[in-house]
């Protein structure tokens, strides 16, 4: 599995090592609000130096889990162990954990330098040490020269940097980031994502970042968890979750997927064959789908793994080949998305890279088209 997926160069993958000890252990953490289950027995090991992303729709419980880690919420059940220390009953001001807040929560009456030094001042650290650390943090986030400004005089991106510097100033064992970049516009957000990863690698701090932006989670994280209604739908590297979703939910949540329904009809060491009432022909998938013959399954196919071409009614019918009519074409600049309506009425999305400037599209509105894909692109999911 791992060979199919690019890992960050030089990154160890301790989660593959059964002997490795997790740095942060979240074990069966449950939280209810007036009977509503916001977290349902969440168990998640996170390793030292990871940049772990909690990804999920709004209301899926990401912030609740983060706030349990920070100590603002006490779980109803389960335990949280950081570096061997059980955090039950430890108040937020005694946890070796710091947080970068979604709103940044910079103290408006303090300068940037006072904000960054706030945490160390609480420990009664000597003035010289605080000054040194503040300077170091300002350099780390490239904000030298801004120490005497008030937060109100900073742009959104600068505030984000100061918030990060403040959260890192005490050298926490664990840094929590709640939608840290959601207030920034797209270009700045992308630049800041890379910078955040950079800083994470340089400091070696373990990061847990909450986001509802799947691109952000995919580009930044060593591993991510897709959350769904208080549970972890899937945990893995971005590549694993994208290429090997374990359910229809994750397949559709992370990226786009065309979902076809069928029944597993045959499997040998070459292919798995899935029959579908929706289609005239069978769907082929790679061997090893490991579902018993006769069981119902979903097949998910990513739009970019499909090919589209004008079809000639005389072409012979074949497996992994759908025929339909182009209803709509969306132009994204870097690619086209074709919306193809099959004869059964089902709609399929197919994307094609925009490889050449100003050429006529090979397929146009209302064309009759064939959509094909390779067996390895069929992701077989349990129903």
């Amino acid at each position: 599995m791992s060979s199919a997926v690019a890992a960050r160069p030089g990154t160890a993958e301790p989660w593959r090592d059964p002997a490795a000890d997790p740095f942060l252990r979240i074990e069966g953490v449950t939280k209810r609000f007036d009977g509503f289950v916001a977290l349902d027995a969440v168990t998640l090991p996170i390793y030292r130096g990871e940049l772990f992303a909690l990804l999920g729709a709004s209301g899926s419980g990401k912030s609740t889990l983060l706030r349990c880690l920070a100590g603002f919420i006490e779980p109803d059940a389960g335990r949280i162990v950081l570096d061997g220390q059980d955090l039950a009953g430890v108040p937020p001001y005694e946890r070796p954990i710091n947080m970068m807040f979604q709103s940044y929560a910079l103290f408006p009456h303090m300068t940037v330098a006072q904000n960054i030094g706030f945490g160390l001042r609480q420990e009664g650290a000597p003035k010289a040490l605080i000054a040194d650390r503040v300077a170091e943090m300002l350099a780390l986030v490239q904000m030298e020269g801004f120490g005497n400004r008030k937060p109100a005089a900073l742009s959104g991106g600068q505030k984000a940097r100061v918030a990060l510097a403040r959260a890192l100033a005490k050298r926490p064992k664990l840094l929590l980031l709640d939608e840290p970049l959601s207030a920034l516009d797209k270009n700045l957000r992308e630049a800041t994502q890379f910078e955040l990863v950079n800083i994470q690698e340089r400091t070696g701090t373990t990061f847990v970042i909450v986001t509802h932006d799947q691109e952000e989670a995919m580009t930044m994280a060593t591993r991510l968890a897709v959350m769904d209604r208080g549970t972890l739908a899937q945990v893995g590297t971005p590549g694993e979750v994208y290429e090997f979703p374990n359910s229809r939910f994750t397949a559709e949540f992370l990226g786009t997927a065309n979902i076809l329904e069928g029944v597993i009809e045959a499997a040998d060491d070459q292919v798995t064959r899935i029959g579908s009432s929706e289609l005239d022909f069978d769907i082929l998938a790679e061997a090893g789908a490991l579902k018993p013959i006769g069981s119902r399954a979903y097949v998910a196919i990513r739009p970019e793994r499909m090919r589209i071409e004008r079809t000639d009614p005389a072409t012979p019918l074949a497996d992994n080949r759908l025929v339909g009519r182009v209803r709509d074409i969306a132009y994204f600049g870097d690619f086209f998305m074709y919306y193809v309506v099959l004869d059964s009425g089902k709609e399929i999305r197919v994307s094609q890279p925009n490889l050449r400037r100003m050429t006529a599209r090979p397929v146009d509105w209302d064309d009759r088209v064939a959509v094909t894909w390779d067996a390895e692109a069929s992701m077989v999911l349990p129903e």
């Binding site: 920070a70 603002f72 108040p91 709103s103 929560a105 103290f107 408006p108 009456h109 706030f118 609480q122």
Partner: protein, 293 residues
């Protein structure tokens, strides 16, 4: 065109309000302050007189203002008023801050009700409420009866017509003026700031001192001045609850005006009172303007 006219009307309203109810009365008081008392109606001499030669003559009488500086009675009344106002505002702050904080931190659905309870006393007559305190504080009043019934004291305590009663009355009446501006600032405070302080290692008490308190200073100043300014000229509460020795400037003014019928002196005292309060009022306005920006 239409917009500018609309704006002119909108601006004219508060200005004409100011002119009608502040500037004009103040000018009337100011002219009386420079007059001399006389028998008759009105009981003061006109400022503008026609001289024998037929020309107009303005006669300014500064004696009333001089009296304020020369007769220690008036100066002391002024200073005592300032002290009473400062102590009252401090008492209101000490009681009102925890109240405002508690309301601001109460669950959303309770806040309107709690604020209502703070304002509720305004729905009954001011005089009635002060009279109720007389009933509570007098020698045979509820408080003394209760204390004696509990065996804490044998003889009734002298409570009414003392500074104690005076401060109880003032603090009780002016507390809402402290609570409301404090609540306004405290409820606007982003709770994430307090969480950030705790997250960075500040215990709750230190988080309060370093974050909540400094950020609520606009409310503290506003509340302090909203109590301080009117209490300096307060007349009714000292009259009804305070001791006979507590000659506050408002009470002196009342006596001069209604008992001694010395309108010019009373007016001069009113002008001096206003001058004393110009500084805190200006401070209040400056802060309000700064907050607005």
């Amino acid at each position: 065109m239409k917009g500018r006219l609309g704006r002119a009307i909108v601006l004219a309203l508060p200005w004409s309000w100011m002119a009608l109810f502040f500037v004009v009365p103040f000018l009337i008081v100011l002219t009386i302050a420079f007059a001399e008392p006389s028998e008759g109606l009105p009981p003061y001499t006109p400022l503008l007189r026609w001289s024998e030669e037929g020309g107009p003559v303005i006669q300014l009488n500064l004696a009333n203002f001089r009296l304020f500086l020369e007769d220690p009675f008036y100066l002391e009344a002024g200073l005592r008023s300032l002290r009473v106002a400062a102590i009252s505002a401090t008492l209101c702050l000490l009681i009102g801050y925890p109240m405002a904080l508690a309301i601001a931190r109460a669950p959303e659905r309770w806040r309107a009700t709690l604020l209502m309870l703070v304002i509720l006393p305004f729905w009954t007559s001011f005089l009635l409420r002060i009279t109720a305190w007389i009933g509570i504080l007098q020698d045979q009043g509820w408080l003394n009866s209760a204390l004696m019934a509990l065996g804490v004291i044998r003889e009734p305590l002298r409570l009414l017509y003392t500074d104690f009663a005076l401060y109880i009355g003032i603090t009780y009446c002016y507390l809402p003026f402290m609570v409301l501006p404090l609540y306004a600032t405290l409820s606007k405070l982003d709770p994430a700031l307090l969480e950030a302080a705790e997250d960075l290692g500040a215990r709750p008490w230190r988080a309060f001192l370093q974050v909540t308190l400094p950020l609520s200073m606009p409310g503290v100043v506003a509340g302090f001045l909203l109590v301080f300014i009117p209490v300096v000229g307060e007349f009714v509460i000292p009259e009804l609850l305070g001791g006979p020795g507590a000659q506050l400037i408002g009470r002196v003014l009342w006596t001069e005006f209604f008992q001694n019928r010395d309108w010019p002196l009373a007016s001069a005292l009113a002008v001096v009172l206003l001058m004393i309060l110009v500084a805190p009022i200006a401070l209040f306005q400056a802060r309000a303007a700064r907050e607005g920006r």
